[in-house]
Structures are given as C-alpha cells and as structure tokens.
Subunit: 209 residues, 4 copies
DNA sequence: GATGAATGAGCCTTCATTCAT
DNA sequence: TATGAATGAAGGCTCATTCAT
C-alpha cells in the first residue's frame, strides 16, 4: 500500500534539486539578491536549510545550478530555432526573436541568473566565450554578403546584446507589457540599423519633397 | 606623532567624505558589491570604520552619497551639452555622445552606482521619473517633424538606454577600448535605426521580384 | 566526539531556552544589566551567541521570555493562594504573604525582570493594568465593610507595592535575611496601618498626659 | 563693550559643569538610561562631546557629579528641617515630609540618580552607610520612649524607605499628582503603622467574641 | 534524505575616549 | 575652553556551514 505520502517522501533527488533551484529564482526575483539566504530559499522550497546543503554542497553550487540550468534550457530552446539557415537578415531576426521570446518565458530565471553572475565571484557560465561573439559573426557574414551595411560588427553586437540582456528586468518590472509588440519592434529597430545606407540618390531626398 | 603630516591632518570634512566616496567606488568596482564592507572601504580610504561612520551616519548614507554625487556631476555635464537646441537627429546625437562620454570618464563611478541601485533597498535616485522618458520625448519630436521614421518611441528609447547603461561595464571590463570609435559607431547605429524607411523605389522592391 | 553526552545532546528546544533564560537572570543579577551581553549570557548557558539567537530571535525576545515566565509562574503561584476568599484583612495578609514569599523564592528572577522592564523600551508585561489596582480594590472593599480605616486607598496601595517591589533587591543584597520574620513583620506593619483609628477614648489621650 | 555673547562665552567652569549635570538628568529622565550617551548629553547641554570630557574626565565622573550634587542639596535641604528636635513621631513626620517634598521638587534628579546607582558599577554615594540607618535609629528611639509600638525597626525602616524611594518615579510618571495630598496620606499611613497597639479594650476584643 | 541544533566569522553600528588645533 | 576628527572596543545580528540523529 503505497500511500500518496510515500510518493511525496520518495521524491527523487532531481525533483528536490529542481525545487530548490526554483525557490532560489523565486526568492531572488521577489526579495532581491541580498535577501536570498539559504534559510529563506529552503523555506520557499518547503524544506530545511540542512537539507538544501545535502542536495547542494554549498550555496554557490546551488547558484551555479541556477545558472547552468538556464543556459542548458536556453541553448536547447534556441538551437532548434537557429538551426535552419537563411539569409543573415533572417538569421538576425530569428536570433533576436528566439532570444527575446525565451527571456519573456523565463524572465525570473534570467533575471536571477544575471544577479548571481553579477554578484558571485565563483559562479561561472560554461561558455566563457564572449556572449556577443556568435552575433558578431552573424553580422559579419551579413556584411560579407552585402546584405548588411558598413558598421563595426563588434560594437553593433554589443548594443544588440545590451537590448537583449535588459529585457528580463524590463519584463519583470512591467509584467503587463505586450510581448509580441516589444519583440517585433526591437527586431525591426535593429534590422533597420544594420541595413545598408540607402543610395544617396534623388529618391532619398524624395522622402521630404 | 603625525604632526608633520599637517596637510593630511587638515583635511576638511568634505575631503574626507570624498575620500570615502572614492574608496567605496573603488572597492565596489574592484572586489564587487558583496565584498564592499565598511571596514574594507574605510581601509581603502586610509581611515577607520568608526571614522567612516562619523562622516556618514550609515553605510546606506555613504552609498546614497555615491549615487547623488554621480547624478549631480552627470546632470551638470550633460546639461550644458544638451542646452543647445537643434534638429532631433542632432539632439539624439548629442544625447548619446554626452551620455557615453560621461560614462567613459566615470566608468567606475557609474558601475558602482548601478550596483548600489540594484542591491540597495533604500538608496534612491532623485529623478524618480523613468530614465528613458526624456529620450522618448526626443524621439517623438523627431517623428512629429518627420525627421524620424515610424517606430515605437518607448521601445526604441529603452533599447538606446540599454546600450548606454551597458557602457560602464563594458569600459570597466575593456579599459583599452577605443572610446571615440565606440561612441561614433553607437551613435551611427541608432541614427540609422531611427531614420525613415527609404522610399520604396525600384531597388528596394527588387527583393520581392 | 561528544557522542557520550547523549543526555546533553538530546536537550530539547525548551530546555535550551530555559537554560538561556536562567543564564540571563544569573548574569543580570550578578554582573548588572549593563554587563549582560548576549555573548556573556550565552557563555553562562554553556553555548554560543549564535545559538542563543537561534533559540531567541533577538536579545529583546530573550528578555521578554524572562519577564513572561516570571509572570506566568508568579500568577500561578498566587492564584491558588488568593482564591480562598475571606475578610479583607485576611486577603490583605494573604496578598502580602504570597507576594513576598514568591519573591523570596525567585529573588534573582524578579530582580532581573525589574531591571529589564526598567531599561528595555520594548519588553512589555501582559497585564498592562496598573499593578496596584487589585490591591487598591482590596483596600476599598475593606473600607466599605468598615474593617479598614479611612485613608486614600490609591496611595496606600502604592506604598504597599513599593515595599513588595523592593523586596527582591533586599533579598539579593542580604541573602541571610530571616525571610519568615521579614514577611510577618511587613504584614503586621501594613495591617496596623489600615486598621481603623482607635476610638479617641480617654485611654488614647492618656499617653500624653 | 562686552557683548552678551562674550558673557556667554566666558561661562565659568562651574556653570558649564552644572549645564552638563542638568543635561544628563534631562536625557536620562526623558530618553532613559540606555539612551544617555555623552554625545546626546553634550548636545542637550549645548556643547560638544569633547568639551564635556574636558569638564568631566569621564562619563562616570559626570554621573558621579549628578549623584553627588543630589546628595549635597538633599542633605542641605533636610538638615535644617530635621535639626529641630521633637518627639519621635514629630521627627518621623518631619523626616517623611521633608524627604518626600524634596523628591517632588527634584523628581528628575532623584530618578536619574537612582538609575545611575542601579546601573553604574563605579558611581558611589558618599554615605556608604545604609540609607535606612538614621530612620531605624529614629524608630528605635520612639520605641524606647514608648511612643511607638512593638515592631522590628529595621524592617519598618526599610518599608518606609521603599515608599520614599518609589516616590520619584511616581511623580515622574504622574506629574499631575496632588503632591500635598500624597505626602500627608503617606505620613499618616506610617504614623498609624508605628503607633502602639490600642489597649485591648472591650471594643477591640469585640472582634473575637 | 531530512532536520534541528550549533558554531564562528563577518557585518553594521554605537560609544567612550583621545588628540590636534 | 572648545571642537571636530579619529580610533578601537564591544555589541547585536545574519548567515553559510557542520554535525548528530
């Protein structure tokens, strides 16, 4: 006779860890990084501080898990969307859309991880490589093909990354934001920015007759 | 004992406060917000924890002073540059240039203040208004005059602010960055982005034969 | 290591709290209110400052517990003694005797609580009502029945309370005092004081011929 | 031309000390013993912490001065009133009246001194002798002359002292108290208490038929 | 797996005291 | 005399971590 309670008690190791990761995200998002003590997080997860340290040998390790799970799910999410090749402009659109949509779906997780990475000295992201590097290569390929205009791809990549990285806090502060509108506007903004300059022909001045 | 250091001893109250503000910026920039204890900051300023609390009645007040001095100097810096009116495009250029140049000149101060505002619950910036509001109005005036294209000025303003706010950490991480190049590229990027769409001439419609 | 002290280790939460309450009483009685630091109290209880704050969330809460336990035991002690009704004189005798005897049995606890109530701004006693009120009513009932003389029951009650409240420090300073003698003398003193004035007969004026 | 300011600046040493003593009394009475820091007291006296320690070499010395001035003025006040001899009953009346009246006139000073003596380990009162001793001798002389009844003079003296010592806090808590009524009632209370037992006349024995 | 108890380090803050001016 | 500046000790409290059960 396996009671429901026994099912609850036999929670697998993984489930408990996920509870704690979710609790850490929740506490950091709600009360701030500074207020996120192990005691507080464990209580949020419905367990004890001692047990939390049974599943994660240190607080830093729990925070590392928060970051790692985010990058794993994020990478999986975007990998399938970015796989399909296309023109650089299409790939830039897909990159922005998938990034922003993933962030809107995981705003608390993203925001908490950003706080952790900002404040922790030991938590590291696996991809040590500059987060803007893939984007820079994408922009360069667009310039090589003549589809994009002339600009410093490094700096442009950084500006695009800034807009993306800001999104989590934007959505956390304004939960009622129209996500689709925000995404399409941001995509359009940067697509305009990377377009080649219009030929300085008569038609250019024609817009202000 | 230290009677020879009369110069050091005659330090006025203001000088000591400035020392402590500078030390707080330095420690936060160098060792991180979490490592910035009063003891550490006071040592960095060449004084004692007790004396630091003699000049600032609490740690929060010291942090508030870090934020306030930044906004005061920042407002003074940009006020004279933004005073001169001009076309919206010129004003956007000036806004971006003065913001970014001020940040490059005060990267540590800006970065430390951002960390403080993120982590402190009590430190407040005087201008409660949304930091993106003046920018949004600037963009709207450009649209009204027909100089700028059609886009959501709120979202565009947020993206521009994101690029600006990111700059401090960028310069802190990469002190060897070519500041002028970075500024001119960023300005050009967003000026392109707000331009009106080119007239749907033959070359433009060529993409859909 | 300490696995042999299973008795000590199995101490329940309540036992540890009682240890700390007893230690607080001991330290305050012995070294004074000002010297009673949490560190000192915890050492006296055989534990650490951190653990003391694990059992009581603040020093004030520990002090509140010192006061509360005193009033609980005191109320229980006197309730059964005062239950039995009787003439006002008998009830006054019982009130004084039970109060004073309880104090002699708990002099350190009473004295420490008085110091706490004098010095703490937050510790409160449950019975907000004036401590002299029940005594005042007792005196009034004696006057109504004619058993007591004419006097201001409020002021008399205050004087009796003063004698009672002083007792704890008296016994702490003079541990060798004859308790029973002290109690019976104090009872007799105040019983005389509340007696009706003797009839102004010849015999009364005879003492001053 | 001696301006008023110069008069203020040339305050004599004694005047400054008295200011500080008065400020200490005020702060202790108003904010409590625990809140009475040197900084707070000096500010109340209109001077600086450093200057306070110029006039009193330590905080304890200031507190000692608070106690000493009280006992000097108190002794002077009562000496002239107690000088005139009389019957023990008259002297007891005078003792109580002068004590209580002095306390009502100096309630804050008396209360502050009591707090200081309770909390300080070093402040001492000059008359180390038991404060109740003169009273005990007074009571004994009344018993020797047959004017007072049979009771333990030591314990009675302590009860009377308790009523007196409580008076300061009573008046501080209830500033609207009718002082003269309080004094006359208290005097009458203890005069009754020390009277000889009434002769076992018929009316007295009537209570035990 | 899980918990309560316990510890020790570190932090902010208060405060008496010292000292140069 | 008087003050501002500075120091160091001490206190209450938080918290990550350890451990016995």
């Amino acid at each position: 006779m396996r009671s429901r309670e026994s099912a609850a008690l036999s929670r697998t190791r993984r489930a408990r860890r996920e509870d704690l990761i979710a609790a850490a995200i929740q506490v950091i998002s709600q009360d701030g990084y500074g207020a996120a003590s192990l005691e507080r997080i464990a209580r949020e997860a419905g367990t004890s501080k001692g047990n939390a340290l049974y599943h994660f040998s240190s607080k830093e390790e729990l925070y590392q898990a928060v970051a790692t799970t985010l990058f794993e799910t994020g990478a999986a999410y975007m990998a399938e969307r970015l796989r399909a090749a296309g023109t650089p402009a299409e790939r830039l659109r897909t990159y922005l859309e998938s990034n922003l949509r993933f962030i809107t779906l995981n705003a608390a997780h993203v925001g908490a991880t950003q706080r952790i990475l900002q404040n922790s000295t030991t938590v590291q992201v696996i991809e040590v490589e500059d987060a803007a590097a893939p984007l820079r290569r994408l922009l360069q390929s667009g310039q090589d093909s003549g589809e994009f205009g002339a600009f410093d791809p490094e700096i442009t990549a950084l500006s695009i990354r800034a807009a993306i990285d800001m999104a989590a806090f934007l959505f956390l502060r304004h939960p009622d934001l129209d996500v689709e509108h925000y995404i399409s506007e941001t995509v359009a903004l940067f697509l305009r920015a990377v377009q080649p300059a219009p030929a300085p022909s008569a038609s250019a001045s024609a817009s202000a007759p």
